[in-house]
């Protein structure tokens, strides 16, 4: 039966092969840890977050989205010296939200991807700051310029990176 697609009634659901589902998050974590050493500016990016949003939106399954987000977030926490779970919680929320949104809306075009990433970057930062300052008692400073700049930068990067990652999608 041919799959019909409309933005209101039905959206496509994708899946990824196991090697891709493992290699892409690991590559994102590796680049996030390595590139800021050489390009100091790169610390503004959050590649693992972009990967969480991409997988969540593509799979369009809230359970899969939150599990992907929690796993990638926990691994990202493991590379810091902060308690494990701050990024985990933030990316769990993003994974769940992005997949829920992706189940209802068409987010496969560049503009939609830009806006979705912009929104969920802000959600991620708010959750992270809330958990870090409320639970862990870290002294963090909310800098509007830094956060807005980071959101725009990551959203623009997502528009490019998602296009590259589209080749790994397989129709479910």
């Amino acid at each position: 039966m041919p799959i019909t697609y409309t933005s209101q009634d039905q959206v496509e659901v994708y899946r990824f092969s196991a090697p891709v589902a493992i290699a892409i998050p690991l590559a994102a974590l590796f680049l996030q840890a390595f590139l800021p050493l050489r390009i100091h500016f790169f610390s503004l990016f959050d590649l693992p977050l972009l990967v969480v949003i991409f997988f969540a939106v593509a799979r369009r399954s809230p359970v899969a989205g939150l599990l992907t987000g929690s796993l990638i977030g926990l691994l990202q926490d493991s590379l810091t010296h902060q308690p494990i779970g701050i990024y985990g919680i933030a990316k769990t929320v993003v994974g769940f939200g992005a997949s829920s949104l992706g189940a209802k809306l068409d987010v496969d075009n560049v503009g939609a991807r830009f806006l979705v990433t912009l929104f969920f970057y802000a959600v991620h930062e708010v959750v992270y700051f809330t958990v870090a300052r409320g639970l862990v008692k870290l002294t963090l400073q909310w800098n509007w310029g830094h956060e807005i700049g980071g959101a725009l930068l990551n959203a623009a990067t997502a528009a490019v990176v998602f296009t590259l990652l589209d080749r790994f999608k397989q129709r479910a």
Partner: protein
């Protein structure tokens, strides 16, 4: 699809339970240190790739520098030879000063921590987060690196080892908000604590508002925290402003380029040592002081017939060191410094004027 559903759920549940265990269980990674398994797994997965990439990068860089980019090598060689000669001269001057300092410290009984052994390491990764200012190096417990060892570069202090794994280690930088270093201002000898901020800046705390601190003042480690040896350059004062409480707000520019680290040294062994007086060639304190104080010139010809043995033992004050050759020429045939090196230079002139009754 339903054929694999049960297996998928089983794998997922098992994975979650393993993950939970990895988060809870700690594994011993050092003499008194244990780390969560999930950290070990993640670091073990990421650091070999980082090491491989750094190795490739260094290899390509070496190939380029050693075989391809040879332009200007001859001139650079000449410039470096000139620089070496200049540094050798300066080293001689500095070693004289250092010897004097050691003699004085021996006399006053000071005990300092000296850097006895270091291990060079390459920086292979970072935490990837702006809220965690830490780096990963390619040396671990196998190379003798342990927790709380100081990490430095030729420019200055970098931080301390936070966790040591088998073949890598995590280093907390001094600009992290959870970092703290006991320091002292080089000129005024004021003590304080260097801390990092959430924005990655370095500030000096615990300096009272009535103290004098100027931009450009050099800051070095005080050695009081028993982690960092004394005297390591930390940074320079950048900006001073009054704080809300009793302390100054002092912003510091770190000497080491914390954002561009490539190679570091881990101080793996320190020695507590007081320089012994035996190392100082048996020089009396009074003689060290008299050598550095101005002297009264000899009366011309007044002491030509006075034998050296009649020189009184009274120590001179306000005496400037007079070179032995110059003094011999002034006093004629009298052997002044060589026969009695511990005697004050102008004791003969004092005898006629200041001899105590």
């Amino acid at each position: 699809m339903s054929r694999y559903r049960n297996v998928s759920i089983l794998v997922a549940i098992l994975f979650v339970q393993v993950l939970g265990l990895a988060v809870q269980v700690k594994r011993r990674t050092g003499a008194d240190e244990s780390t969560r398994i999930i950290r070990l797994w993640t670091v073990s997965a990421v650091t070999p790739l980082e090491k491989a990439l750094v190795w490739c990068q260094n290899g390509l860089g070496g190939l380029w520098n050693n075989y391809i980019y040879l332009r200007g090598v001859r001139q650079e060689n000449r410039d470096l030879k000139f620089e070496i000669e200049r540094l050798r001269l300066e080293q001689v001057r500095l070693s004289d000063d250092a010897q004097q300092a050691r003699r004085l410290q021996a006399l006053l009984g000071f005990k300092e921590q000296y850097i006895a052994k270091t291990v060079a390491a390459q920086v292979i990764g970072s935490s990837g987060s702006e809220q965690s200012r830490s780096i990963y190096i390619d040396k671990g417990t196998a190379a003798g690196v342990e927790k709380d060892m100081a990490v430095i570069t030729a420019d200055g202090l970098v931080g301390r080892v936070l966790r040591a794994y088998g073949s890598s280690a995590q280093v907390l930088l001094i600009n992290d908000q959870s970092s703290g270093v006991g320091v002292i201002l080089d000129k005024s000898r004021l003590q304080g604590v260097i801390k990092g901020t959430a924005a990655g800046e370095v500030i000096l705390e615990k300096v009272m508002t009535d103290e004098q601190v100027s931009p450009g003042d050099l800051i070095v480690t005080s050695g009081g925290d028993q982690i960092f040896p004394k005297g390591i350059t930390v940074g320079t004062v950048m900006k001073v402003s009054p704080g809300a409480d009793l302390f100054l707000n002092i912003r510091v520019k770190p000497s080491a380029s914390l954002g561009r680290l490539e190679e570091v040294l881990v101080i793996t062994k320190k020695e507590d040592r007081a320089p012994s007086v035996a190392e100082t060639n048996s020089v009396r304190a009074v003689d060290i002081l008299t050598q550095r104080l101005p002297s009264v010139p000899d009366k011309p010809g007044a002491d030509a017939n006075r034998p050296a043995t009649e020189t009184p033992a009274k120590p001179a004050t306000a005496q400037k060191p007079v070179p032995a050759a110059k003094k011999a020429s002034q006093a004629g045939a009298k052997p002044a410094a060589t026969s009695a090196p511990s005697q004050p230079a102008t004791s003969e002139t004092e005898t006629s004027e200041d001899k105590p009754h």
